[in-house]
């Protein structure tokens, strides 16, 4: 049994221990497999264990360490993958009962890349069915049941990358892969107190991932620090001819940031940290704002241009998601999924006229142009990742945090939909706890392919704070 100090270590810390052979990949992997098996079901976070694959990879990694060969900082590090990523010979359920027996015979590109870097796939992690494309109402919209938050199991871990958030928070794995179409990395990262990165659209290949929205899906890391997100992103990014949306660009992690923070302009709006935030989370959000202020950048008060971001994103996801799953919706197994709101949303998507979808994708172009203009005034936008802490397990999610009424100041409350529509990168950083003792987080959003600035700011924020180091009361 490895001590908690090792289990809760970051990737960079584990890489040092592995290289110095103070711990072997075999020991670390076995500890993760044991925790996944024992604690994963407690949180409904585990979809499938992959012990055979993991043990073989761990042995390979230890062999390389013995010969002083290190392919990457991820060599020998176990991880979990959201269960929408294909892994050869392992069940890939997409979180939904109709796909409970689905097994692919190839690896998703990101799984392949991590394997080549020496990372060890230890398990597949639970998710909201079909990544929630129809608009689910309850956390129970998952094949494994509602994923429980390690900080308080009466609360949800967030979605749709639910198991990825819970597994990293509870130290079942050092890092995980999640995916985001409209908040599915940022939301569970915020709820579970882990650091999550949504890459620029097209930076990370989606080949072998379940498609929900061809023009909005992204895959990204969920880790214990901003630095770890950079280390994982370096490995999983890059050109892939198997993904038609691949940008051909790569990300290179640099430990140093060449630009002084005093030259950066951070856009924010006070209303996001006060009136638009849950009362229980306001002190933590205010304190985070102060930490960023003290880093010395120019703080610029801005609001997103007034556009119907949620409606545009909702229309595109509904049209594309319903088209992806048309055979399922029309077939006999659709009713195996439990969430009636989600199913109704997917059915309604099939009725959408082409003109509505086309109007939404044309408006996205207008939104991109408007956001490009915003990013001439600021380098990043700072706002809460989510306005409050995790929902209760039985809470109706469609009734939480409604948008402000027309005519009221909006601030940047729609930054999740806006950022996803425009394909912008974002990072979620744990920034403290609500007065109800649940994690809350802030997000930074940047220009396309400017992950370097997000990670540098995240790293600096995490030097000044220790929220990302806090451990939930998991027990053994």
């Amino acid at each position: 049994m490895l001590p908690d100090d090792i289990l809760y270590s970051t990737i960079s810390e584990l890489a040092v221990l592995l290289k110095a052979r103070k711990v072997s990949s075999k020991e670390l992997t076995q500890a993760c497999l044991d925790r996944l098996e024992k604690l994963g079901p407690r949180y409904n976070a585990l979809a499938a264990l992959t012990p055979k694959i993991a043990k073989k990879k761990a042995e390979e990694a230890d062999d390389l360490f013995k010969r002083d060969r290190v392919r990457s900082p991820l060599q020998g590090i176990p991880y979990g993958a959201k269960d929408l990523l294909a892994a050869a010979g392992v069940g890939t359920t997409w979180g939904a009962a109709p796909y409970r027996s689905q097994v692919f015979d190839f690896d998703a590109t990101v799984i392949q890349k991590l394997g080549k870097a020496g990372a060890v796939l230890a398990g597949k992690l639970a998710m909201i069915e079909l990544a929630g494309g129809g608009g689910y109402r309850y956390p129970s919209a998952s094949l494994q049941g509602p994923c429980k938050n390690p900080w308080n199991p009466a609360h949800w871990s967030g979605g749709s990358s639910s198991g990825s958030g819970a597994a990293v928070a509870a130290a079942l794995v050092p890092f995980a892969l999640g995916s985001e179409t409209n908040g599915s990395i940022l939301n569970p990262s915020s709820y579970c107190g882990v650091t999550g990165l949504r890459p620029t659209y097209g930076l990370v290949s989606r080949h072998g991932a379940m498609a929900l929205s061809w023009t909005m899906d992204k895959i990204g890391p969920m880790c214990r620090s901003a630095e770890d997100c950079g280390l994982v992103l370096k490995v999983i990014s890059g050109k892939d001819s198997l993904d038609p949306a691949s940008s051909g660009k790569s990300y290179y992690y640099l430990a140093e940031y060449g630009r002084p923070f005093s030259e950066l302009r951070i856009g924010h709006h006070p209303i996001d940290f006060q009136d638009r935030a849950a009362e229980s989370a306001r002190p933590a959000f205010q304190a985070a704002l102060e930490v960023f202020r003290k880093l010395g950048p120019k703080m610029v008060e801005i609001s997103l241009p007034d556009m119907p971001y949620r409606e545009v994103a909702g229309t595109i996801i509904q049209a594309e998601g319903s088209a992806v799953f048309e055979p399922l919706i029309s077939g006999g197994q659709f009713d195996q999924m439990p969430d009636e709101r989600q199913k109704a949303g997917l059915r309604a998507g099939l009725e959408m006229p082409a003109r509505d979808y086309l109007r939404a994708v044309r408006l996205r172009r207008v939104i991109q142009d408007k956001l490009r203009e915003v990013f001439t005034q600021v380098d990043v936008i700072l706002s809460p990742s989510y306005p409050g802490p995790a929902a209760g397990l039985d809470e109706a999610l469609d009734r939480r945090f409604q948008p402000p009424p027309a005519g009221e100041k909006r601030g940047n409350t729609d930054i999740v939909s806006a950022g996803n529509l425009a394909g912008l990168p974002a990072i979620s950083l744990p920034c403290g706890f609500s007065t109800t003792n649940l994690p809350v987080a802030v997000q930074l959003v940047a220009r396309p392919f400017d992950e370097h600035t997000l990670i540098a700011l995240g790293r600096e924020f995490q030097k000044q704070t220790d929220w990302h180091r806090r451990r939930p009361p998991v027990g053994g």
């Binding site: 409970r100 015979d105 919209a141 498609a211 993904d243 949306a245 009725e351 408006l363 172009r365 207008v366």
Partner: protein, 67 residues
């Protein structure tokens, strides 16, 4: 499913032992028909909201979307 390099989604269906599955039960607020009606109303409301906006004739949709 995104297609493999052969152009076909390569998967087989078989049972496997290690998958952990709970029987999910969702509390219901509306009946199925009411949910479908509500979902269609939301879709139409979205469409009406988008229709109110001025859209420049030059705004082309991007099907291979680039940020």
């Amino acid at each position: 499913m995104r297609k493999s390099d052969s152009g076909k989604a390569r998967f087989s269906r078989r049972s496997f032992g290690q998958m952990l599955v709970a029987a999910p039960v969702a509390p219901q607020v509306l009946s199925r028909n009411e949910e479908v009606k509500a979902a269609n109303e939301r879709r139409l409301l979205n469409a009406r909201t988008l229709a109110k906006l001025d859209l420049p004739a030059a705004a082309e949709p991007a099907f291979v979307f680039r940020p």
